[in-house]
Symmetry: C2
Subunit: 353 residues, 2 copies
Amino acid sequence: MAKGSREVVTRNDVAQYAGVSTAVVSYVVNDGPRAVSPRTRDRVLEAIRVLGYRPNAAARALKVGSTRTFGLVMPDGGNPLYAELAKAVEKEAATRGYVVLQTNTDSDPAVEKRKISDLLARQVDGLILATPTGEPGATELAELNDSGIPVVALNRPVRGTTSICPEYRAGARLGVEHLIGHGHERIGLVMGIERSAWSPERELGWRDALVAAGLPEGPIARAEFSRQGGYDAGRQLLTTTNPPMPVKQAKVAKLLKATERPTAIFVSSDLQAVGVLRALHEAGLDVPGEMAVVAFDGTAESEFSWPPLSVVRQPLEAVAQKAVSRLLDEVDEPVEAFTYPTELVLRASCGCN
Amino acid sequence: MAKGSREVVTRNDVAQYAGVSTAVVSYVVNDGPRAVSPRTRDRVLEAIRVLGYRPNAAARALKVGSTRTFGLVMPDGGNPLYAELAKAVEKEAATRGYVVLQTNTDSDPAVEKRKISDLLARQVDGLILATPTGEPGATELAELNDSGIPVVALNRPVRGTTSICPEYRAGARLGVEHLIGHGHERIGLVMGIERSAWSPERELGWRDALVAAGLPEGPIARAEFSRQGGYDAGRQLLTTTNPPMPVKQAKVAKLLKATERPTAIFVSSDLQAVGVLRALHEAGLDVPGEMAVVAFDGTAESEFSWPPLSVVRQPLEAVAQKAVSRLLDEVDEPVEAFTYPTELVLRASCGCN
């Protein structure tokens, strides 16, 4: 038995001989999903010939019968942002003849891990992880890489994996600078709670804009990325009240700035902004007259809120297109980090119109 | 060759001998996805033995390796209603160890047909058609039935297929009766455009309530099931103005009722209601003071609109649960029509609170 086992030539042997990853061997054997350069392909075929490698035909047949499928792992398909992202991915995949298995994790790392394993077991041709909950440990990454299935992470960089992100920090700065342009000097922040150790890019962008304009930081309310979270955060920001009388000393005034009620709020997601608007309406505040609002995301829901939200729009289509391209097309670098610029969409909530 | 062909025993032969459908033969052979009663199972096994039927082992192996998957065909995953429905279906399927392939059709019958064929080719274990665009012709139904794959239609009855629907008509009536309870006598309707010949149940429910209360019909605006559609419809309803002076003759007054601006609007979907609210805000109307609104659906978006929408809530969880159960569990009747009651959720837009 031991002898028989030793004689089996594995994909790993071929990879070592040819000096490529096991994934590349798999692409050559299965004729996809990614293309391989002719030179690399020749090296792999030569290794297969020399070593006498015989890929498992049954497994291959099975795979051919069940593929042209991507797995898409999302934190919450009920969030319009992810619903729109999924739609964009599905549309892009369809142009290449692929369908998409969508699955939700409720941002639970354990659920996410189980769903990824499940999709791998189903032999999907590629895996798209939207906003993964954290950096997978070395073990999971090895499992993913060893599976030979291409993976891309969206919205959040993950070590060892290609990532495609909006320019969160530059985008947030753009939105806050627009509020500063409207004359606001006390700009609060509603910031989503990140479950990973990843740096809060949107918060950094908000701060960048304030520092560049020489303005003090307004109050920050942290909350879940949800309508309810935004509502709670909005109410919290409204409890910071203006001082009862003008403060003479400039230094004291500057120190007090952070506790004054802001005149504008930058919100880290559309969903939260909708909740913030409800809190402002309930408090009887005029938007944008008494409180201006700019949000990050730019889903269809933001256009029909009241007043219509001015937003920093995520480049969903570009992200979806790049994701599908990375899963299918030949690549020079196995791991790369891509970012796409956001776009300012001005409606009424900022004070324009 | 002809001889050999004639000797092949098909699943159809087994079905005829046992007096069951080909689908049932397939359930017995594949040990699922639906259970079969012991007595029927024995009849099928007897037929297989007598006729010497040999199911294609390769096809079966392939299927076993690629299954535990449902296909879900939706008109628009970007619509929060379908995003929430998909989430409910996925959650319910997961409890049974199944994953869901979601796909969008943009309500285009040709796209829908292509996507259904595609899912069948992928040998899904069951097909859920959410709001199918129309009654499939006899050919498609035969293809579906012959595939042996169980199918359920959601939100719309389809001849020859099990359907699971909310009680649209009774639900709409419930919502309009609530507006009547608030003292409204001129109640308009924003009605989604149905692409099939299926009767507009929500419109019938609106009329039921008005007739029962002896009230005239308010104006109707028909529009796409979208935020923009609702916005356009809302603006249209506002152009119907009140007559400049009291009309003395009751008969004339009644005839004029339909052209008067309504004091309340029943809207056939949340998405449209959000657009209607925007139109009302832009016209400077107080909601519910000058115009009350009740919508059909009850998605999360309705709770955070301004003012929060009173809604007739669809029983999404019950529908998802029944759909998965119909695809997996033993059934007595091959084709049934199920309806689930809706629920009135009262917030501010109707005049409550």
